[in-house]
């Protein structure tokens, strides 16, 4: 498992990369490994407003369908269309595979975790 230090992490297992007012969202290496083989990703429409902590889509593996939670509020500017035909990319490269890009609307991201804190959080959650 690797958690790049340039990202911020939500306890719901999404990562957020902030570049000015642009936010890029993906799911963590831990999330993809817990889900197992991912077969489908349901993403919002471009232009849709998402709110921090609310669902913006879902990711389906052979085991379950899980909701995706926005780590920050904003307007969706781009979705990763490549995932329609190759959702398994998330399993092979969770840290490099983004789901959506947002124009951040000044939401407070201080509750998000650093890479080190997220790693600690995962260790506590899994009990090892």
């Amino acid at each position: 498992m690797s958690y790049p230090e340039k990202y911020k992490y939500a306890k719901s297992h999404e990562w957020l990369e902030i570049d000015g007012t642009t936010g890029t969202v993906g799911i963590t290496d831990y999330a993809q490994s817990s889900l197992g083989d991912i077969v489908f990703v349901e993403l919002p429409k471009v232009g849709q407003q998402v709110e921090a902590g609310s669902t913006f889509g879902s990711v389906e593996s052979v085991k379950a369908v899980s909701d995706l939670y926005a780590p920050a509020s904003g307007t969706v500017t781009e979705i990763n269309e490549a995932l329609n035909s190759a959702p398994e990319t998330i399993n092979t490269a969770a840290n490099e595979t983004w789901l959506i890009k947002l124009t951040l609307t000044g939401s407070d991201t201080s509750a998000l975790l650093s890479a080190a804190d997220y790693e600690k959080f995962v260790a506590e959650e899994t009990g090892h």
Partner: protein, 459 residues
Amino acid sequence: MRYLPKSPADRTEMLDAIGVPSIESLFETIPAEYRLTEDLKIPRQHSESEVLDRFRAFAANIASGDPEELAKQPASKLFASFLGAGAYRHYRPVIIDSLVQRGEFLTSYTPYQPEIAQGTLQAMFEFQTMICELTGMEIANASMYDGSTGAAEAVMMAVRVTGRNAAVVARTVHPEYREVLHTATQHQGIPASEVGYDAATGRVDLAALDAAIGEDTACVLIQSPNFFGTIEDVAAIAKIAHAKGALLIVSIAEAVSLGIVKAPVEADIVSLEAQSFGVAVGYGGPYCGVIACKEKFLRQMPGRLVGETKDKNGKRGFVLTLSTREQHIRREKATSNICTNQALVALMTTIFLVVYGKQGLRELAEQNLAKAAYLRGVLKAAGASTKFEGTPSFHEFVVTSAETASALNERLLGKQIVGGLDLAKWYPELGESATLWCATELTTKAQMDAAADVVKARA
């Protein structure tokens, strides 16, 4: 498993353990006036042989649809039935019951550990494949409870697909299907408005339909052949619905019609009641619904699908797929509260379709069409009128006559004939004499002539 009833001592011990003085006190939360204080007035128990005799006596005196049973009955006990309206009497090849009662199918009727029941999965896969071929849709699920719940599920599916929240329903859809739909949608914030029919053709009023569809309309639900037996102009209705961004759901209550009526390929979702394919009519069930649709709606489809795959040795195998969206896995976010299917009944329909085949189903449908044409002819010759004349129809049609429906049916019953369904309850505008008649391949010429004679006696 041994069955050991509790002894009075066991009961006392259990009551003591939970600190309750008597079994009666467990019901104290129910107000006293709603609690029964006397014994139920039910007769004494009967022996097995008495019960069998009783039911054989009933069987000898009912309108049996089974020609083999009919053949055993004395002529004086025979009833002819002209009822249809969503429950259709068709011949059931004997191989159906022989096969579905095999333990391999019966005990795995709904597979909880699906992959070990490859035979059941293969049968469901073939069911889905044949439903697709019949309906012209790209995918079909492994079945729903029945046609009415299937139609309601299809509407909720259209709401999920479109992100719109209302439905427009044709009044020519089976009235009881509409009741089930309202039961399902009323607490989900899905308003369902109804659109009437053209008084001359008995088909959906296209201008009224066009006016009824708004920006929040997720779907239009029609039935074809509709409740009056006439065939809707599916292509024209699809055009109207699609122009306004709504999906078209076609409900089919008489599956045998697909042997001759063009498949509703213009629809987005088809909800089929498959009872006609080898499932007996019996007090309303069990029936077999199924939803088929375009592949792009796959992940919003309720229920489960069986998929084909390869095992680790590269051999063909089957799996239960897409149950990740079912309620037992995804709780409140499931696509539907259905988390089973009608596997055994779907198997009956699968065997029926295999026995009849493509050509056989067409011949069967042609026989139904011919019988209905004959019935229509003799009833008219006897002085009755038929409505929606000139509109394409399958094996049902609306009849009016000079006397009320109940008076005519009373006289028919006197001659061992169960007449058409009285429509006044649902369609009062058709008048007190309107009845819905159905003829299938099991309806004999003698029965139709006898019914016409009764009609003529009054006219």
